[in-house]
């Protein structure tokens, strides 16, 4: 209820498969640490969900520096999936997250099918996890380093193994570095995903013309930020038309207008990524902005906006 007018507050709730969120605004993995890093700047209990930094079975050190470089309206990163590993995540990071009212979604990554399923299995026994998001943009070591998410059969195999290993809702995070996103989206839907999220970063690179060296030690990295929003929006639209499970939109979302574009293109929820770095309150501002937009448009629920794009 609005305390001044007595009007009912717009309903921001959305369902990501079996997971109900109080609003459709989440934090993208790798841009919000383990939540605690933002606790002094953001009201974490205002968020739809927190998706934590991707976790692997063993801790990973990550790539040598330089790991990040700014580009026009975006940034390239080659962090190398540095993380504390699943055991330390459960003992050191999860206790803080558990005290929040906001659902916690754990992003998992691996370099083999077995690693993904062992991770999913381990996280089954940890209290306080609402869902898993599966990063399938990692290289499959046994297949010569081809990313799982770029071959429908490999995407299917990862999805199936995680699906079988966990009772938690499973969101598969898709790579945009593919020719036909609809094909991959359908493959993971058929393999049992409860939802898909996209896009992960686009592969890119930058050169220092004075030293003639790549600006990232890893030579290439993932492009994120407002620069990739139009590409992400197009892929969300294509994926949403290809599947009947919920789609979570990611890619350069910085303002409420950005979030609305994704919802209208077919996303049930959105993730805010790079914006957290330069505008830590972006998520909260988008939540407030969605309420405001629904009031302006005289809509009772955010669900009325999902897939409402007019194409005739």
């Amino acid at each position: 209820m609005d305390p001044l007018t007595g009007a009912a507050s717009p309903d921001l709730r959305v369902d990501i498969g079996p997971l109900r969120l109080r609003n459709p605004v989440m934090t993208a993995s790798g841009t919000f640490g383990y939540g605690e890093e933002f606790a002094s700047l953001v009201n974490l209990n205002r968020l739809g969900a927190i998706i934590v930094k991707g976790i692997s079975l063993e801790p990973r050190r990550g790539n040598p520096p330089p790991r990040i470089i700014e580009t026009a309206c975006g940034m390239l990163n080659a962090i190398g999936l540095e993380n504390v590993g699943v055991d330390r995540f459960i003992t050191e990071k999860l206790p803080f997250l558990r005290r929040l009212e906001t659902p916690v979604i754990v992003n998992i990554l691996g370099d083999s099918i077995e690693e993904y399923s062992r991770l999913a299995d381990k996280l089954n026994y940890a209290r306080g996890i609402a869902a898993l998001e599966v990063n399938i943009s990692c290289p499959n070591v046994k297949k010569g380093g081809v990313a799982f998410g770029t071959v429908p059969e490999m995407a299917t195999a990862v999805t199936r193994s995680v699906r079988q290993a966990t009772g938690l809702p499973v969101i598969i995070k898709l790579s945009p570095n593919v020719t036909d996103i609809a094909l991959i989206a359908r493959a993971v839907e058929e393999a049992g995903a409860d939802a898909i999220s996209l896009i992960n970063t686009l592969l890119g690179m930058a050169v220092d013309i004075r030293t003639r060296r790549p600006r990232l030690a890893n030579i290439f990295g993932g492009l994120s930020g407002p620069a990739i929003k139009p590409v992400a929006l197009r892929m969300v639209w294509q994926a949403a038309r290809a599947v009947s499970i919920p789609v979570v939109g990611i890619g350069g979302i910085t303002t409420v207008e950005d979030a609305l574009e994704f919802l209208m293109a077919g996303a049930t929820a959105v993730q805010v990524g790079t914006a957290n770095f330069f505008r830590p309150t972006a998520t909260e501002e988008i939540v407030a902005g969605l309420e405001e937009f629904l009031r302006q448009e005289d809509l009772s629920s955010v669900r009325q906006l999902i897939g409402s794009l007019k194409t005739e």
Partner: protein
Amino acid sequence: MPEFQEKSPVRGREQLTPDVCRLTLHAPKIAEHARPGQFVMARAGATLDPLLRRPFSIHKATGDGLISILFKVVGKGTRLLAAAAESVEIDLIGPLGRGFDTTVAGPHCLIGGGMGIAPLYFLAERLMRAGRQASNPPVLLGAQTQAELLLLAEEFTELGYPVLTATDDGTIGHHGFVTELLDDILPEVQQVYVCGPMPMMRTVALKCRAAGTPCQVSLETHMACGLGACLGCTYPASGGGYLHVCKDGPVCSAEEVTWTL
């Protein structure tokens, strides 16, 4: 440690040289909690290019809610900041990171090179306030040319520190590297604080190691968030793995860092 986001109006702007600028900003919460060696993340402008905040070590923090940052214009972000007019609000997050350990007793030496002088003024001011002035060895300041040093050297003198300078072009002080001034002083001191370009800090760190004198270095890297989330601001650690400059630093013991260049 408390961290704040403050819309901080510009209260003063000084052009030290054509490309070195000092901004004074009203950021009362950051000023109150800041410790020497900590930094702020500043957003230059409201558009998406440049996208990221820029890290600046805190150059001064005063009781009247003001902080200063000192920087050289090197790109789009710093150019926008340098052009900020009086009362324009700069969005700041801070104070961030691990500052200098000021509890070490005994005579100390501060060595700053170029914009690395910025955090050392705040450190010197707090060391003085703690009553550490008695016959302390000089502060060593280095820069490309005298224009960069004149005002800064005077301010250290006003605090009560003797100052020795070095310039690349010999226009003031020692003609050469500021690190060359350390040799005579090193035997007298029990603690060295250094901030400047990596090759300079490496030289100082290695001299201190040879002399067995503890040395604190203030590191600088690219950084997207300053909050420990992006994991982009890494530097190789001596024990293997990486330091995250925003959380493990920016001030580290020289012995925590791998000095390969």
